[in-house]
Every structure is written in C-alpha cells, then in structure tokens.
C-alpha cells in the first residue's frame, strides 16, 4: 500500500543525496534502478490480485485529503520508466556530467511516478509544473544559445497552458466542490444543471494538451526535442510526453471527451506526418513523428472500448521504447559524423558504427509497424478496437505517412564498414531493442487473452504489410513533390495565438460532439 507513496518520494530523496554526496552519483542511480525494479515487481504482484489499490494520504478521507490510485495504466508506464531509466543510465555511464544533471534526472523520474498515481486535479497541476521546470532545465543544460531559446519558448508556452488548466480547476472546484476525480464523477451524475462541464473540460483539455504533444498546442516540441542532448531527448519524447496523455486518460474517464479526442487525434496525426515528410534534419523529423504518434494514442482513448484502451497502453509502451531508441541512436550517429541532415548522414555512413545503424533499423521497424515487432501489436489492437471505417482509414493513412517519412533512412542500412562505439552505449541500445523485438510474448502480461485472440488475425497482418510495402515504394516520389510548408507557426507569438485558436477548436468540438 505504501509503495505508491514510496516510489516518487524515494526518487526525490535520491535526488537530494546526489547533490550532497558528489562522488557516488552513479552508485546512487544504480541503487535507484534496483529499488525501482523491486518496488514495481511488488506492485505487479499486488495488482494481479486486486484490480487497483488506493491510499488516502494521512488517512483523512477522500473529500478532505489527497488520494493516490495505482492501476494497470500506472503499472505499464512504470515498466516503461524502468526500461528507459536503465538504458539512459548505461548511455551516460562514461560521460562527464555534473551531479546537478543527475539530480534533475531523479526529480524527473520521481515526478513521472507521481503523475501516474495522482487522482486530484490540483495535485496534477503541481506535479506537471515540476515536470515542466525540470525538463526545461534539462533541455537548457548545454548552455548553447539555441538550446536556451528552445527551452525558454517551452517554459513560456507550458506556463501559459498550465495557467489555462488552473482556470479550469477553479471552474470545477466552484461547481463540484471537490477536486478529487472520483468524487467529481459522482457529482456529475448527481447534479442536474451541468452546463459548466463544457467550459471546464475545454479549459482542462487545452491546458494539458500543451504538454501532451498534440500538434495544434505543442508547437514548442520540435525545437525543444531537437535541440536537447540525445539522452534528454529520449527521455522527453519517450516518457514526459506520455504523462500528458496519462492525464488525458484520467480526465476522459470522467468528462465526455471521446468525440473531440478522436478529431484532435486525427488532426495531430495527419499534420505531424505532413511536417515530418518535408523535414530533412534527423532530430526534427523524429520530433514531428512524436507529434504524429500521439495521434494514435488519442484515437485510442477517444474510441473508448476496452480493446482500444489496451491498444493505447500497448502502443504507448512500444512508442516510448522505440522513440527512446531512435533518439539515442540518432544522437550517437550525429556525434560520430558531425552532420545533422539525413542526406549527409547517408553519405558519411561509414563513420557511423554498425551497432548504431542496427539500432536505427530496429527502431524504424518498430515504428512502421512491421509484424511481429512492437508497433504492430499496438496498431492491431487499435484497429480491432474500433468499428467505424473512418477511424480505420485514418489509422492506415497515419501508418502510410510514417513509412514514407522513415523510408528515407533505408540507404543507411547497408551493413558494411562502420566506426567505433563504446560498449556501454551498445548495451544501452540492447536494453531498449530487446523488448521491441520480443514484444509479442511480453504483451501477454498486459493484455487479457480474449483480446489477444479477437484482434490479432491474418487479415490485419496482411493489411499492415500492404501498407508498408506501398509506403516504401511511393516514398521517393511523394517526398520530392510535396508542397513547401509554413514554418512560421513555430515562433513564440504565433504559437500562443495557435494555442488560443486550439482552445476554441476544443470548445466547439465539445459543444457538438
């Protein structure tokens, strides 16, 4: 029971210890990894018997104190955090980093665990602000001007978003009298006059959407994730973005958000893919891809059936793994050659080591959804979870777009020659690559057997292969003849105006759907 509280607080204690005991930072993070594994194992065993466990801090009662709940969602993301933590530890083993960096890392991991268990709106506000501050400091760690500007833009827009979220919390508190999610749900069923739900849910969704990586709102994302150092990009793109999606999942259980999330998901997916196809810098392309993959998760939450929710969790786990792997591998490739553009990387591929290229290959196979790798399971579950043809066509279109944008990396994968890579970095790639390859048996732990049998059949297999084949064939003509796109929206002022327009979009969607 107390594990739920121990997981974040122990990470914070380790953070403080890192700063005071400066020679033992690597020992501390290894100890943290071990303790996390043990605690998550115990949580898994406990949740196997009970569906979900909850604890009210201080024993005061739900309406007066703060409640924390652990269920299947938190378990899945907890394991994702574990894998990413281990791999980042190995990637950064040999680098010279100040203890300040490791302290920020521990704070980030502790805040991620805290979001997974949170059940109270104001608690979520405070934890997301901690996440914003810590990731903002991590992006600006290198002190280069473009990193500092990207992180400043991130801070401005994220604070604006959280201000809008707090306004939503104020509306909810005034009308429902509580900030606990479970108690709000009971209030919504009991009250007759619920016209305030429209304003409250649109404010809350807009606020969280700024941090969750939805395209219209998160225009800070490409600059911030592309300017950060590789390990930080992997953590941000693989883990921190998912926390916004986790909060949206918690909100979608209470407020009637399904139609609007479907439309928002399709919008962000398609727009992300369009921008990803026309970008030739590797890290920017990966960041736009992140924006588009969040579309999958939103479509899954919006559909709402049990199979679709399992698909969302499955795909979120898989996406965290392969996006982390892609960012780490891209980072070491860029460090080996010194070039950022894909075409120049292909020309200088003999400087990139074979293991880095193999890691990029596994990541690409995962993200395009080749069966039986990681992405396929999630996409199949999402496809099987929805009955409407429009959603399935949108999902197929997103798959097609992803394949087109990643097919430009194919010339990198000729395995000849290669540079040198330290053994710790190869081990870090291995930690992330193994679950991607072995994903099929792993999902049996998370997905009930009946969903497995209904969703994975041969027709989805063949459909996926057809989409992938078409994408690879049509990649070159599409990329050459694509129209040039407006990059002006990613500046600070235009991004704020777009966030406001996004608020109206969400408001209208909630009004009519």
């Amino acid at each position: 029971m107390t594990i739920i509280v121990l997981l974040p607080l122990l990470h914070f204690v380790f953070a403080v210890l890192c700063l005071s005991w400066q020679r033992g930072t690597r020992g501390i993070i290894v100890a943290a990894l071990l303790i996390d594994t043990i605690l998550l194992g115990v949580l898994f065993a406990v949740l196997d018997q009970a569906g979900s466990i909850s604890i009210t801090l201080g024993g005061w009662g739900r309406n007066v104190g703060i409640e924390l709940v652990a269920d299947r969602t938190s378990l899945v993301f907890g394991f994702l955090t574990l894998f990413l933590e281990g791999s980042i530890l190995l990637y950064l083993w040999r680098e010279h980093l100040q203890p300040y960096f490791f302290m920020l890392l521990h704070l980030l991991l502790g805040a991620v665990f805290a979001v997974l268990f949170a059940q109270d709106l104001f608690n979520i506000y405070v934890i997301m602000e901690l996440l914003t501050l810590v990731s903002f400091l991590l992006v600006g760690y290198g002190k280069r001007p473009y990193q500092i500007w990207a992180s400043l833009k991130y801070l401005f827009l994220a604070s604006l978003g959280m201000g809008i979220y707090l306004l939503g919390v104020a509306v909810v508190y005034y009308h429902a009298g509580t900030m606990n999610l479970g108690l709000i749900a009971t209030q919504l069923t009991e009250q007759q006059d619920t016209t305030w739900v429209l304003l409250a849910s649109s404010l809350l969704v807009t606020g969280i959407a700024v941090k969750a990586g939805i395209f219209v709102f998160s225009l800070w994302l490409p600059a911030a994730h592309a300017s950060a150092s590789p390990a930080v990009s992997a953590l941000l793109s693989g883990l921190v973005i998912k926390m916004g999606v986790v909060v949206l999942l918690k909100l979608a259980a209470i407020f009637p958000l399904s139609g609007s999330l479907l439309v928002l998901g399709s919008l962000t997916g398609i727009l992300g893919i369009i921008y990803a196809i026309t970008t030739y810098e590797l890290k920017y392309m990966l960041a736009f891809c992140t924006l588009s993959q969040i579309g999958y998760l939103l479509i899954g939450i919006g559909t709402g059936s049990k199979v679709a929710l399992s698909g969302t969790l499955c795909y979120a786990f898989a996406h965290g793994l392969f996006k982390g792997l892609l960012f780490l591998a891209a980072g070491s490739a860029i460090q080996a050659t010194g070039k950022k553009d894909i075409r120049e990387l292909i020309m200088e591929r003999s400087n990139i080591s074979l293991i880095t290229r193999a890691a990029l290959l596994i990541g690409t196979l995962g993200i395009i959804g080749l069966p039986p790798f990681a992405g396929f399971c999630g996409k199949a579950l999402l496809n099987a979870g929805t009955q409407s043809y429009v959603t399935q066509i949108v999902l197929a279109l997103l798959s097609f777009g992803t394949v087109v944008s990643f097919a430009r990396l194919i010339p990198l994968f000729r395995f000849e020659g290669g540079g040198y890579l330290p053994r710790t970095k190869s081990l870090s790639f291995l930690i992330l690559a193994l679950p991607i390859v072995l994903f099929f048996p792993l999902t049996h732990l998370f997905v009930p057997a009946w969903q497995w049998q209904t969703s994975l059949n041969i027709s989805l297999f063949i459909k996926n292969l057809v989409v992938i084949g078409m994408g690879i064939l049509l990649a070159r003509p599409i990329a050459n003849h694509f129209p040039h796109l407006e990059k002006r929206f990613f500046r600070l002022e235009e991004a704020a105006v777009v966030i406001l327009s996004g608020f109206f979009l969400v408001f209208l969607l909630l009004l009519f759907a």
Binding site: F122, W149, L152, F156, L160, L166, Y173, L492
Partner: protein
C-alpha cells in the same frame, strides 16, 4: 456579487496578459505578462471562495462567524511559489540570451538563431 466581480476582473486581466505576451517584442515584458496571467488565475481562485462580510479563516473564538473558504487560499499559496520559481528561472535564461545576442527583442533573436542554424 464580490465573487462575480472578482471572476470578471481576473478574466479581463488574463486577456490583457495574453495580449501582452503576444504583441510586445521585449522579452522582459513577455515575462511580466506571464506573471500577470498567472496572477489573474490566482485572483480568480481566491475570489471564488469569498462571501459577503467574510473574515479571514483564523479561528479566534467558539462562535461560528462568516469565515471565507480557506481551501482556495491554500491552493494559491502553492501557486504563488510556483509562479515565483518560473519567473526567476525565465529571467536567468533571458539574461543568458541577452549576454549572447545583446538585444532583448524576441524576433531578432529568432532571426539570428535561424541564421545560425542554416549556416
């Protein structure tokens, strides 16, 4: 009545802060507008708990006088500290940028960074 007036004033201040963030080019003024936006949300929260002829929720005797709602005030205490932390760190970053580019104009800084990226 006080509550409705409080909400209207705070939303108007929110709008003014938003306009300041969008239209003024100077980074320091953008920072101040961000502080104004956060402050207006705090004003909204506190005014939601108010009541007519209310007194501060500090219990001085056994009689049940009209105390205002203490919960929004506790939330605003946390929000003030968070606002302070954000402004302090954003100010540090603005100082670093000004040291490098010798100007506080946001459009000029964006332009220079884009130029450096293309080189």
């Amino acid at each position: 009545m006080l509550m409705i007036a409080g909400v209207i004033v705070s939303v108007i201040l929110f709008g003014i802060g938003l306009l300041g963030m969008i239209f003024r080019r100077d980074l320091i003024i953008k920072l101040l507008s961000l502080g104004l936006v956060n402050g207006s949300v705090m004003l909204c929260l506190v005014s939601l708990g108010s009541r007519a002829n209310g007194i501060a929720p500090i219990i001085r005797g056994p009689e049940n006088a009209g105390y205002v709602n203490p919960l929004p005030q506790a939330l605003v205490l946390s929000a003030i500290v968070i606002n302070f932390a954000i402004l302090a760190l954003a100010l540090v970053f603005v100082m670093l940028l000004v040291e490098h580019y010798h100007s506080t104009d946001s459009q000029r800084i964006e332009h220079e960074i884009k130029r450096e990226r293309e080189l």
